[in-house]
Symmetry: C2
Subunit: 269 residues, 2 copies
């Protein structure tokens, strides 16, 4: 029959599109991908909204264990729900290809993701360079490669969207080799942590292109009623509490006049 | 009261989010912006769907004549509907700022736009560089500056999304100085025209970084059931009919293995 790839959007159960809602309602089985991002609501609230079971899938399931879902999609209408837009993460293209191999029809229902919703800052989407990801540093693993990408963007006057690390259902180091894994509590990088790491990386690079005085935007809970968008210098964000996750961060390139106006608009009062 | 900025999404009346639909239903006045992009349906179909009048606004209205809308939003719930996500185009940030100045509350309801929906190609969104716009060349105006941006992206192995020109409600040259303007029929650039112009610009630049053999994607009607996504070499698109608008185009940088697989997936059969 068909496997729907459905974007759930950014914040809650009402961010799904009408088309997506109808697809979920028409489905015999509904899967929920919940490891590359999170909605700001629980699975239970989704289940209540639809009066339907949502089968939670983790990275392991989607990457190597999704036969059950695909087999079901052979003879049933099945929805695979993803927070944001369905094609933010690699593994879903794998699924797409496997559907074709198995002769299962696919239909994609798009939605907002941070990659376009960040337009709410007033920064123009066509003035962004390469997107970077900032991973949680560990004691022995402190990769600074993102700084080089920021520098390249800035050299061309372009803004940089920084996606901040999310750790959901990560096995503990101790359980990595065990059959039954134990999982760490979920962690979501804050703008503050991102900025600490950005400053460390900039120092390492001799503060070449960006520094503590660079103009930035912090974004939290975009799409939710209690969203928070703040402009400020990089160092300011060491002291700004952006509240609950998810956070994203932007390092500004050259600001055009309208962008400058929006930068002022979002200054903390 | 409040001015809602509502993204209508990509294709038809059911691409609005549930939240957006409820906002429109609760509004005393609903405005429709229809000059930076188009839905694949008519205003009448939207009006039927909501049983409500949609007041069409053009560029002139939004940029210099929107006092009526803002005044109404002082005391009423008003929706300003935009195809895609509300913050694709500059002028809406102007509106945002004017609302603040007038003490009108704003609420943003996000949606998909081509900038994230292009993920359906399987190309990874964090591997894109600066987005470019390709304008219709005229006899005397053939700007090649987009080629230089593509070259910069390619030098770093990054993909380039090309937004293709849309001309909606453009005054005719003859009527430019007249009080009552006459308008040209709407024009939407096809992938074929974009490729002709891309090749001309590449020739001009001595085929430095991209050429007729560069790998590309053509996208048409993304988000609609009859969408068409095709991979091929730049020159192939001179002969590929992508059908009705809207079209977008992507010039690939380095393809990672999963991306290569999706490139094969979308080869015309």
């Amino acid at each position: 029959m068909v496997l729907y790839f459905i974007g759930l959007g950014l914040a809650d159960e009402k961010d799904v599109t009408v088309k997506g809602k109808e697809a979920i309602e028409s489905s015999e089985f509904v899967y929920l991908e919940a490891y590359t991002s999170i909605l700001m609501i629980s699975k239970e609230r989704l289940e209540e909204y639809y009066d339907k079971e949502f089968i939670l899938t983790d990275r392991e399931y989607v990457e190597s264990n999704c036969d059950e879902m695909l087999e079901r999609a052979r003879d049933n209408v099945v929805s695979f729900c993803v927070v944001g837009d369905p094609f933010g993460a690699t593994t879903h293209t794998d699924l797409f290809i496997r559907c074709k191999e198995m002769g299962v029809e696919t239909k994609v229902i798009h939605n907002a993701s941070i990659i376009n919703a960040m337009g709410i800052t007033g920064l123009q989407l066509y003035r962004f360079g390469e997107i970077i990801s900032i991973p949680f540093f560990t004691e022995n693993w402190r990769p600074y490669s993102f700084a080089e990408k920021i520098e390249h963007n800035l050299a061309r006057g372009l803004h940089t969207l920084c996606l901040l690390d999310i750790k959901v259902k990560e096995p503990t180091e101790e359980s990595l080799c065990m059959k039954v894994k134990e999982y760490m509590p979920p962690r979501f990088m804050s703008c503050k942590t991102a900025v600490e790491q950005l400053i460390e990386a900039a120092k390492e690079n001799g503060y070449e292109q960006y520094n503590e005085e660079s103009k930035c935007f912090g974004l939290a809970r975009v799409g939710a009623d209690d969203n928070k968008i703040v402009s400020g210098l990089l160092k300011d964000f060491l002291d700004i509490d952006m509240g609950a996750p998810l956070h994203s961060f932007i390092i500004c390139g050259e600001l055009h006049p309208v962008e400058e106006e929006m930068y002022e608009y979002y200054q903390p009062s």
